[in-house]
Symmetry: C2
Subunit: 345 residues, 2 copies
């Protein structure tokens, strides 16, 4: 009752038309639906556990004034707070739908985050995935693949973490990068005086776009597919490794910058099989002391990380691993990175 | 129509009862309200601009299975996608309400973020504010004041940024900290061999709680209110500065770790007057070459930052400023820090 009065006070008396009232269960679950100003639909609901929820849903276009600001919400909360000391209330910022481009991206554990994306720079489908470049006020240009933030201009720490900059010595080493189409990893590794780096990326569109819009991450690395000490191969990395096995080519490092650890109930299914295959095959082209470096997922996904570690432990080749983690700005999470090598007897 | 069929397919035929249908405007704005399983209320709405929105609202307690997972939402989207190539759709993660403690905090520009808070450790009202300690899986313990994240165990960079570690030389200097009740700033400054640090914090509850739950940030600094080269005064910092003016006491640095720049239309009102007063009075106890260091707000709040810079430029004392910024993990934003000093002739 008081909630309705509060809303009427805000929107103006007679501005709300009651569309329906319904008792949903005998335990105190009631629903009222109103139409307010600007064809807003207001669901007012009481739940059996004492919760009262209000959803105000309306169309706001362009620079129109909001119907209810967070401050209005706070004022309504204050008014309701007077009803009793024990009333707790929360006003959430508006949840935007139908925006011209996505502003919400889920974190690895499914949490909701609104990014300060102010521009969609590129949006196409390659034969492999949806490729987008978005501009975030905080993170600069962001590469978004199939709706998931992949790498932003703010994320040098991601690249330095996956390659263990400062701990691994790449001088005169042979390195194979799996994926890495944004070019950042190759760009940083080039500066470490390795003997040779081969990068195998399947999606040429990603490289084409990052060359243009993620230049602060990839530098001039993607301008040419061959350089003094590197070569970029457009193709399937598994097929490339098979070729290396056939030719007897070996590497000191394989760095896999492919897909994240899948979020699943068990370490089974297509994606997990792919991950196992990648690790198994990588060790078939790694020197005895060679290292496989890769990224995991967000640190709060403890189950997924444990599954990955289980998978590594159960491969035919006895492997041991270490892990590190770093907060990657545009991921808004602490991200886990793995360093895997053959167990020494 | 197809949307209803899709939902019925998911929830089971005959599982949805139509509660009402209403045409809200003649331009194609329609509302249907259904009751689905578990007393869920489903608002299905079409808007004049072609947007179709679905809100599914239900009570989920404890470890109950969700009624609709994000994957289900994706499946529904796929089914709808078959209706036409140009259909774009988004499924948002569930918006949680009535949670035992807040998990959503707004960023400086009002964006919504869901934190991975898994425990409310402390929640009391001091005479000055609501003081909470929450545990985040990513950021560790977080001090939350009046519902806004203040400092977390992950945020050494905040402290190092406000004090300009590495750029300012505090050796043998006299420093005044305004606020800073979490103790982190004092703790870091103590390590820089200053002559003396005075910290004036009004809210003893904050210090008491941080001493216990934010120990990785404040170390042993708050265990005693006096130490070799520091003193903590519980009180109003303005009154303390007045006392210093009266006694002729001067400082080399005043570091203000008080409130954020207010979010407002114009640089007026109580909070802005307070900020002006703090700066003006700080310069009355600063040496001629003394510096006033403080924090601003999120980098995307360009209006607020410009207002602050305007305020600094318009004070009676001619002042110049520089600014830096750093990504503060638990703020999930690039934060701006100011260094202000007297203009040299």
């Amino acid at each position: 009752m008081e909630v309705v009065e509060g809303l009427e006070k805000h929107f103006g008396v007679n501005s709300m038309e009651k569309l329906m009232v319904k008792t949903l269960s005998s335990e105190g679950d009631h629903l009222s639906v109103f139409m307010g100003p600007q064809q807003s639909v207001i669901n007012l609901r009481t739940f059996s556990n004492g919760l009262v929820s209000i959803i105000i849903d309306y169309l706001r276009e362009g620079e129109e004034e909001p119907l209810l600001t967070t401050l209005d919400g706070k004022a309504l909360e204050m008014a309701l707070g007077k009803l009793g000391k024990d009333i707790k209330s929360v006003t959430l910022p508006p949840i935007k739908r139908g925006t011209p481009f996505d502003v919400y991206f889920p974190l690895s554990d499914g949490r909701l985050v609104e990014y300060d994306v102010d521009k969609l720079i590129y949006d196409e489908r390659s034969p492999f995935q949806r490729v987008q470049i978005m501009h975030s006020k905080t993170f600069g240009n962001m590469l978004v693949l199939d709706g998931l933030p992949n790498l932003a201009e703010s994320d040098l720490v991601y690249t330095e973490s996956i390659m263990c900059r400062g701990t691994e010595d790449y001088k005169d080493k042979e390195i194979l990068i799996l994926g890495g189409g944004d070019g950042a990893l190759l760009n940083e590794l080039r500066q470490e005086n390795p003997k040779q780096i081969i990068m195998v990326e399947i999606d040429e569109m990603v490289m084409k776009i990052c060359k243009e819009h993620l230049r602060s991450a990839c530098g001039d690395t993607l301008d040419s597919y061959t350089g003094k000490n590197y070569q970029i191969i457009v193709g399937d990395c598994i097929k490339y490794i098979e070729k290396c096995v056939f030719q007897g080519k070996k590497f000191d490092y394989v760095i896999s910058d492919l897909t994240d650890i899948p979020i699943s109930e068990t370490p089974q299914g297509e994606m997990w099989e792919f991950i196992k295959k990648v690790i198994r095959m990588s060790f078939s082209v790694l020197n005895d002391t060679g290292k496989f470096l890769t990224h995991g997922t967000g640190i709060s996904c403890t189950n997924q990380l444990a599954m990955f570690e289980g998978v590594v432990g159960e491969l035919e080749i006895p492997l041991s691993f270490t892990c590190t983690h770093a907060f990657v700005p545009s991921f808004l999470e602490d991200w886990v990175f793995y360093q895997i090598q053959r167990k020494t007897a």
